[in-house]
């Protein structure tokens, strides 16, 4: 099998091209972003402002801002409270399939690896949903691997089943064309998460060797197609640590900001997956994202986009999640199983990554309560 056979900047057949200049603008600004030019004086003056420009955001992501984490955290806590009060939305992901036809070199799930793959039947999906709904949750995120083996009709049917149990249905699946997003929206999905992994096209090319995911611009424009397809909101993120995390964090923020400017009704949210640095390698690599860097990125987003949803994943440890809830994050998952199915059914596929916070929905709710925060189960009605 020939690797790297295609040009990663050229669309494959069947991939929709939309008229938009957002990608060019993001890539240009990211290329020009020189985070070493910001000094502590710049950061200090940004922290005196109430509405931040793109350049201010760039300053908060710079190494100079690392010394201001505490001030940023205090400010972020106030902004989060002003916009979201003391509420945290809770949801759980359900993996319905893990087929994958891509070859991302950093992922053990890629199509070159022999792992256990599977997809749930509709009866199994419904049973999983019943079990999840019984915990009180009303928001669910449906995930598939990136393969058309779980096709749009299959996902649509899963979404329809979800509407029986949940008020808020998100999907984290491979990028689609506008009409396909419109179809899933009609089935009942509202929110689409797609992560660009890295916004550096050269690095992207080296890391994504095969499959549709290799096509950088098609993935980049997924959120915009989702909005055009009628979705209420979209989530952005990059896999921090794959490349220069400051640039990737800057790019994802700018991407979201420009999209919201173009479609002011779109709800914006962010996730911050990261590659964990090797323990013995601490401080060696400036690309490494340790907890302080992760928090810096999250805080910079909150101060730049005070209105955006910020999700904190179970990949982070409980001690970190508990503290960022209410300070910066507005949404968290609980009761997470990262295998295919596995909430009740015996898992039908291997797990893609390990979680660090295995607590149940009610345990997380108790924690929030003890911290003076309220759990929100329902935050949306579809009309």
């Amino acid at each position: 099998m020939k690797l790297r056979e295609t040009n990663h900047m050229e669309y494959m057949e069947g991939m929709e091209v939309i008229a938009s200049d957002i990608m060019d603008r993001v890539l240009k600004a990211t290329k020009e972003y020189d985070y070493y030019k910001y000094t502590s004086v710049d950061v200090y003056s940004v922290l005196q402002k109430d509405a931040l420009t793109v350049d201010d955001f760039a300053a908060l992501l710079s190494p100079a801002a690392e010394d201001f984490l505490e001030v940023m955290a205090q400010k972020s806590k106030q902004e989060t409270a002003k916009h979201f009060g003391n509420s945290l939305c809770m949801f759980t992901p359900l993996y319905i399939s893990n087929y994958c036809e891509n070859y991302c070199v950093y992922c053990g799930f890629n199509c070159q690896n022999k792992i256990k793959r599977g997809k749930l039947s509709f009866a199994e999906i419904e049973h999983e949903m019943e079990v999840i709904a019984a915990t009180g949750l009303r928001e669910i995120l449906l995930l598939t691997g990136e393969s058309r083996k779980s096709d749009v009709e299959y996902i649509g049917e899963a979404v329809r089943l979800a509407t029986k149990y949940f008020t808020n249905i998100g999907i984290e699946i491979y990028p689609l064309n506008t009409d396909e997003y419109a179809y899933l929206h009609e089935c009942g999905a509202d929110f689409v998460s797609v992560y660009q992994e890295t916004y550096n096209p050269d690095k992207y090319e080296e890391l994504h060797l095969r499959g549709p995911k290799r096509i950088f611009p098609y993935r980049f424009y997924a959120q915009e197609r989702a909005i055009l397809g009628g979705m209420r909101g979209v989530a952005f993120g990059s896999l921090l640590g794959l490349d220069d995390f400051r640039k990737d964090a800057f790019a994802a923020g700018l991407h979201a900001m420009l999209l919201q400017q173009k479609y002011p009704q779109a709800e914006i949210s962010f996730s911050f997956p990261r590659l964990r640095p090797f323990i013995n390698n601490a401080d060696n690599n400036p690309n490494d994202v340790h907890e302080p860097q992760l928090l810096q990125v999250m805080l910079a987003y909150r101060l730049f986009m005070t209105y955006a949803g910020i999700t904190i994943s179970t990949r982070e440890r409980a001690g970190f999640r508990d503290k960022v809830a209410g300070m910066v994050a507005t949404k968290l998952s609980a009761g997470v199983k990262v295998s295919v199915g596995g909430h009740d059914e015996v898992s039908k596929g291997d797990e893609q990554f390990e979680i660090s916070d295995p607590r149940t929905v009610s345990e997380v709710k108790q924690m929030l309560k003890a911290r003076g925060l309220q759990t929100v189960y329902s935050d949306y009605i579809r009309v």
Partner: protein, 255 residues
């Protein structure tokens, strides 16, 4: 004569409308009691009927529910949310919010007028959240709104009465209760709004983000009562520094 707030034919003693959703639901009772409010808003999208943390389960008996249409991006969505609220037993009051900007959360005045027309025909008592614009307020009144709710400053900003002069125009020109919604950040600002002659004040974030939520609710109650009393009493003349010159310009006039 007793000083009452009349909205859509219903009389209220309290001129404080409480927002909800930004503080823990278990506090609702204590906050309502301290605030002395008779009307509280709730976001219908937070209603989780039959489920956990359902805001409707926390509203005490006797309170007038003011369901809001937050989440609606156009008039039709707002109308559907209002109908759902009525089906859930929230009554006929509706706080109409139509917003299609997730960043500033500024209301869409045009769609708000359209939604008011639809909902008034269906018998709703519409209290319309709006950006203070006299023409829009007139159209809302003509469409049958029961109260006009201009924003003081953007939702959640706690910046107070940035739109003061425009709100005053509404107070002077519109023959409906003007109620300041959004932006009030501290009791003194609520008091200032009441002195201006608005009929009531709504607050949420300022209370929810206080260190002691029930106590701040009480502070707002007192400020609103005080501002109302000041308005009724008629504010006296406040002399500007050096306003009366020692050689008056009109001293030459003969009797």
């Amino acid at each position: 004569m007793e000083d009452k707030l009349i909205i859509g034919g219903h009389a209220f003693h309290s001129r404080f409308i409480l927002g909800s959703g930004k503080f823990s639901l278990e506090m609702t009772n204590a906050v309502i009691e301290n605030a002395g409010v008779e009307m509280a808003t709730l976001a219908l999208r937070r209603a989780n009927v039959g489920g956990e943390e359902n805001i409707l389960d926390f509203m005490p008996e006797g309170i007038t529910l003011l369901p809001n249409t937050s989440g609606a991006r156009n008039a039709d969505e707002a109308a559907r949310i209002a109908r759902l609220a009525r089906e859930l037993g929230c009554g006929d009051f509706v706080k109409l919010e139509v917003i299609r900007d997730t960043k500033y959360l500024l209301p869409d005045n045009f769609e708000t007028i359209r939604a008011t027309e639809i909902l008034v025909k269906e018998g709703f008592i519409v209290m319309a959240y709006m950006y203070p614009d006299l023409n829009v307020a007139r159209d809302l009144a003509a469409a049958g709104a029961a109260a006009i709710m201009p924003l003081g400053s953007p939702i959640g900003s706690n910046k107070g009465l940035l739109t003061k002069d425009f709100i005053k125009i509404l107070v002077d020109e519109i023959d409906l209760p003007i109620i300041v919604d959004a932006g009030i950040g501290r009791p003194s600002q609520a008091c200032e709004a009441m002195e201006l002659g608005v009929e009531a004040v709504m607050a949420n974030t300022a209370i929810a983000t206080a260190r002691d939520v029930p106590l701040m609710a009480k502070a707002f109650k007192l400020a609103i009562e005080s501002g109302r009393a000041a308005y009724l009493a008629g504010l006296g003349r406040v002399l500007e520094h050096k306003a009366e010159a020692s050689s008056p310009l009109t001293g030459f006039l003969e009797a």
